[in-house]
Symmetry: none
Subunit: 441 residues, 2 copies
Amino acid sequence: MTKMQKDNKPLIISLLMTGSELVSGEITDTNSVFLARELMSDGVMVDRKLVVGDGFGAITDALLLLTEKSDVVIVNGGLGSTIDDLTAEVVASVSGRKLVENSRAIEHIEKRFGRKFLSENSPFYDQIKKQALIPESADLLDNPVGLALGFKLKIQRAICYFTPGVPGEMQEMFRQSILPDIRLLFGLKPRFGISKLNIIGLGESQVQQLIHRHIARETWDRVRLGFRASLATVELKMSIDDPASEPILKESRERIKELLAEYLFSESGSLPETVIRLLRDNRMRIAVAESCTGGLIASQITAVPGASDVFEGGVISYSNQSKTRLLGVHEGDIEVFGAVSQEVATAMVKGVLEKTGADIAVAVTGIAGPTGGSELKPVGTVYIAWGISGSIQTRLLLIKRERSVFQQLVSTVALDLIRRSLLGLDVDGIYYFDEISRKRL
Amino acid sequence: MTKMQKDNKPLIISLLMTGSELVSGEITDTNSVFLARELMSDGVMVDRKLVVGDGFGAITDALLLLTEKSDVVIVNGGLGSTIDDLTAEVVASVSGRKLVENSRAIEHIEKRFGRKFLSENSPFYDQIKKQALIPESADLLDNPVGLALGFKLKIQRAICYFTPGVPGEMQEMFRQSILPDIRLLFGLKPRFGISKLNIIGLGESQVQQLIHRHIARETWDRVRLGFRASLATVELKMSIDDPASEPILKESRERIKELLAEYLFSESGSLPETVIRLLRDNRMRIAVAESCTGGLIASQITAVPGASDVFEGGVISYSNQSKTRLLGVHEGDIEVFGAVSQEVATAMVKGVLEKTGADIAVAVTGIAGPTGGSELKPVGTVYIAWGISGSIQTRLLLIKRERSVFQQLVSTVALDLIRRSLLGLDVDGIYYFDEISRKRL
């Protein structure tokens, strides 16, 4: 599994994550997840991951331990300007180097924040200065996003990369400086033949079952499968170590695509991106009318750069009054059928199509909870209506999940129903998290 | 910081998380987050956390390392029935004990799955038997939820608890068996005097400077400060170890609240929760009109249970046409002043107040990027307008951040301006991520 170095010894990479808030569980360590996944794409499996608090002794111990046993150590956190940012000091002590004010670091700060922040009158003077202190003769790692520069130096047998804790800053530094450097030093090549498939509706175990039932076991000696499930979608990753396995990768990939059928929504790109692309291809503009999702569908669409090409706008008709005032839903319909009903969902789509002049629209009305349910319409009930003027369809789902998960799942289904419609696919697809369609399994 | 043992030495607890899928980043390690948080409630800060793959050598090394330096080691994972579940074998090897079929474990399996699973004809026979192999004379830890029992034994200087990787099983085992055992052995009591302050507008380093400039250093020997920064807000946590420090905690807390002034938005609860509470107190209903945030403000409000008490609804007027059609903004105003202008932002608030009948509203129009900027109005320019009918205010900000971060920060400022208005506070507050207000620093 683990990539070999040029001299055929396995490359040992360790991660050292520092931060009391990581050890205490106040924040979840997502940085090491990012690093491990990125390295994995190059075929390198991280050997171990050590998480310690912001103590001088703890970081020192950890750094000595890992640098003794690893070829590469990536250290994350503790490069900021506050008193609990101790990494540079530890490195200086462990490596017997002085901390010196680095002129390139000073330049970097000036460029980002202007000279006045470096004047002694600036309230930020001491802090800024602290961030420019780098162990003597370490190589700097550029931070295109933030203030704290990273640095690289050798400690014991390991090449060490020191990175800031802010995720966006660490990620850019890793992609732009560290990964290319590791590739160069250890002769790594990007992993061969990685292929992804994005799935909506089926859960990880259903996909796994489908594959194992229909594809011969021997395939998996040569093609490696990885699953990454998020709230409503699953990413299936296929990869091979040996270029000679490419035909079997291709073949099994085509077979899996057939098996997944319309549950496969893209080979790259999120579901909102897929929907935006399809709308663009069809030269259609979309509008939304949201009740229980409260703006989440629109927010997911508009998070994608270029959404303005296809997104007209929408209405968040949260109260009953706003359904009437903003969308022209008849008060009588709400009284007779209830705000969560097929009739009101349909009227919402009609209303938003008319008000905005969009070509296609989707509307949702449901009960997100924790209160507001009844015996007939329990918490988790939701009607989704969608379509173009004169051709509107609806669907009823029951998604018994906690409020924010419910909102996420409903938004995802709404987008998927638009996708299925635009592709002319069956809109009766199964969503494993929906109690009503699960009954059909 | 760390709780003392009865004999006044600090109690050192380490976590060892095993599993190749944890090291590779395929799954995020939430079990250690749970353990660290639970222990924190008892005043015990986890000393370190080591994550290793499913290799015999890796687990052996890690166990030897941690048991040499810790009083307690909680080991998670590797107790299952598959070939990569190696923990019991490692323990046997490290502690020089035999693995023996444990009769209580056999009983547990029988009770949960019935006798037939233990017949030699069962396809699960070998697997089940494997889970009953426990190191000789270890104490069993009950698993009320699943198949794999945990166990406890001493290795080197540490009491070790071995737990299954399935989150629900580990959690029950921790609560029912491990935590009571640790409390008893080391005389722990739940932690004393934790206090939180939530801040919007100031960055972590600004808060720290403010505090260190105005409060005597000696305070921090007895009161511990912790910072947790999210995208736009900062949580400041204060805690003490010694009940006798309570007066100084109270005093410094009051002083910090004075220093933070209107930048302090709550002592518990998110910014949307705070705004909802204020609206409820004022018996006011709110509406939103969103362009560049595309539904995110509404989505953050409606993510809070009970938002329907105060949230009327809103309009996502993303295209120019939708600003006119949905909100009645004059086409001429958009042509003359541009869609991103004080005039249009004001017209959006007026429009949404009129259309929804809400008491108060907020509107945003800006350039989220990456394209769409001009020299006069670069990417990151945003106008926020808010107020009640007849009294509308506006503010111009420049937030040069990546699209999704921009949308998050603008949503947060929009909510904060509502908060400040409702409290009668200065609405010219500084937001450290806004280039325009930062110039005033």
